[in-house]
């Protein structure tokens, strides 16, 4: 098993990278570009996308991606589960950064947030390839539903209709990105679901995924890009509870816990 050791020895005190480094007092290199000379002309969204993908995105593309964040994920409603973490941190006077970090981590959820997002883009990209290889769309959709009992990018935990689709489509039309193959595919899948009496409508995760796939983002790139998407909504939730009396965010009475466990008993010796 000695061969296993070579990887560690090779990297000991030796990290070789193309990603970047800072040279204090001199310059900062970011994926081969000088931050002060080249990246200072980029918008923050362009820098973010460049950092994730290593590719440059146009101003219109950056506006589209920024719009995806604004429309899909900037909901300052403290009842939403990840936002509620920021609100709880605020009410107990934790720090702002801890609140935002924890809320971000919580956004990597199964029922909403990061998991449906990455699965939605993977499904759309994969389906697009399979159609080009000759498979029928209806068959792909129904098989996916049969095996997984859900379709990433369709349906919603509380209400089925997603009010974000319309503004997302309007934005993409304004920027000229409405008729990309993944967007058209996502809408066609919705029609297939309706035709087969499935109650799932296209949700914002599915539309975000389709728009991003049309701009060439791979599933992992989309996942990284969307990991910060909820942040704008976290801050108002934290600030709101942090500027109200301590501990008063949705207080719970003892009786508002429904207990169905063991009856009272003694621990013994």
């Amino acid at each position: 098993m000695k061969k296993n050791l070579s990887n560690l020895i090779q990297h000991e005190n030796n990290w070789i990278t193309e990603m970047g480094a800072s040279f204090p007092g001199e310059r900062v290199v970011f994926r081969g570009k000088d931050v002060f000379q080249e990246l200072s002309k980029f918008s923050w969204m362009q820098v973010l996308l460049f950092g994730i993908t290593g590719r440059e995105f146009s101003e219109d593309q950056a506006r589209l991606f920024e719009g995806i964040w604004v429309i899909s994920a900037s909901y300052p409603d403290p009842r939403i589960w990840n936002n509620r973490v920021a609100a709880l941190a605020g009410t107990v006077r934790s720090t702002g950064s801890l609140a935002i970090s924890a809320s971000l981590a919580v956004s990597e959820a199964t029922n909403y947030g990061q998991r449906p997002l990455i699965k939605a883009i993977d499904f759309l990209i994969d389906t697009c390839k399979r159609i080009k290889a000759g498979e029928g769309l209806e068959n792909i959709v129904l098989t996916e539903l049969k095996s997984k009992r859900m379709l990433a990018g369709y349906g919603r935990p509380i209400v089925n209709k997603d009010e974000r689709i319309k503004p997302l489509l309007e934005l993409s039309q304004k920027l000229g990105y409405k008729d990309g193959e993944h967007v058209l595919l996502a809408l066609e899948i919705e029609q297939i679901l309706e035709k087969n009496n499935y109650p799932f409508k296209l949700n914002a995760a599915g539309m975000d995924a389709a728009l991003a796939a049309d701009q060439g983002l791979a599933p992992n790139e989309f996942y990284h890009f969307m990991s910060l998407c909820f942040t704008a909504g976290f801050f108002p939730c934290f600030i709101d509870t942090n500027s109200t009396s301590e501990g008063v965010f949705f207080p719970l009475r003892c009786e508002f816990v429904s207990y169905s466990g063991e009856n009272a008993r003694e621990w013994g010796k």
Partner: protein, 273 residues
């Protein structure tokens, strides 16, 4: 008023029940954990490990179960100063970051699939699938199942529970496995792992890691894979906390920065070879 608005939402639980103070419905007079009065009865009777077991399993552990859990808790409470999760905690410590960020750093890094809690989860899933059947283990280790869809967790790069950078199994892992096996019955998964360790390591050409031992101990304690993942995260935090506080005291200048150890391939730099 619509009925939805009148309906009081509640938290459902089998773990916790409270009785309010007569003068304040928001303050508890009595707290019961799985039926035991925590502050009126359990406080000076249950050990920390017994209470931990109760919280997860809703029953008192037997003496043997408590001893096994306590021993694995001691074994993993400090993964060591070079462990990735502890290094993350120390990084937070030396910069003077908040106490919570120290633990969050340790948790985020210690959650991983290489030596972290996700690996424990995956090993426990293998236990559910393979039990004490060596052939099944060999088959699944050599042909691991693949996720159909991309996920937040990337595909595993090594067989769960083994160290791809290891040579032979380090003594602390062997010592822990032997000690834990001695505390469990002869049919236990820990004893099975001890007996089959060499065969499994030969199959994948890698030594077993701490994650294997911890996952197997949690398996013998009949924790679910999700509970095992959570316990592995929780029980490794003491070391991370202590090391971070120590490094905070020593300060940032005494902590490795790897100055001149990062080599940038920079095509834009005319000075590059």
């Amino acid at each position: 008023m619509p009925s939805e608005e009148k309906k009081q939402e509640v938290i459902h639980t089998k773990i916790w029940r409270e009785e309010p103070e007569p003068d304040n419905p928001f303050a508890a007079k009595k707290c019961f954990c799985a039926g035991y009065d925590v502050y009126g009865d359990l406080l000076d009777k249950a050990s920390w490990v017994e209470y931990l077991y109760l919280l997860f399993k809703l029953e008192k552990p037997t003496q043997e179960q408590a001893k096994l859990l306590e021993t694995i808790a001691v074994a993993i409470s400090n993964p060591g100063i070079r462990d990735h999760s502890v290094r993350a905690a120390m990084n937070a410590g030396v910069g003077g970051s908040t106490a919570a960020s120290v633990l969050m750093a340790a948790l985020a890094v210690g959650a991983g699939q290489y030596g972290g809690a996700r690996e424990v989860f995956l090993v426990m899933q293998l236990w559910e699938e393979c039990g004490q059947d060596l052939e099944k283990w060999e088959k699944v280790l050599l042909n691991p199942p693949k996720e159909e869809r991309a996920d937040i967790w990337q595909p595993m790069e090594h067989p769960p529970g083994f160290d791809p950078n290891g040579v032979s199994c380090p003594a602390p892992i062997v010592q822990t496995l032997k000690k834990l096996a001695s505390l469990s019955n002869s049919n236990s998964s820990l004893n099975w792992l001890l007996e089959n360790q060499a065969a499994l390591e030969k199959t994948v050409d890698m030594p077993i890691a701490f994650t294997s031992v911890a996952a197997t101990a949690f398996q013998d304690l009949e924790f679910s894979s999700e509970q095992g993942e959570m316990l592995y995260l929780l029980l490794r935090l003491p070391g991370a906390s202590a090391h971070a506080l120590e490094q905070k005291y020593y300060g940032i200048k005494k902590y490795p920065f790897f100055l001149n150890k990062l080599h940038l391939i920079d095509e834009s730099d005319p000075g590059q070879p």
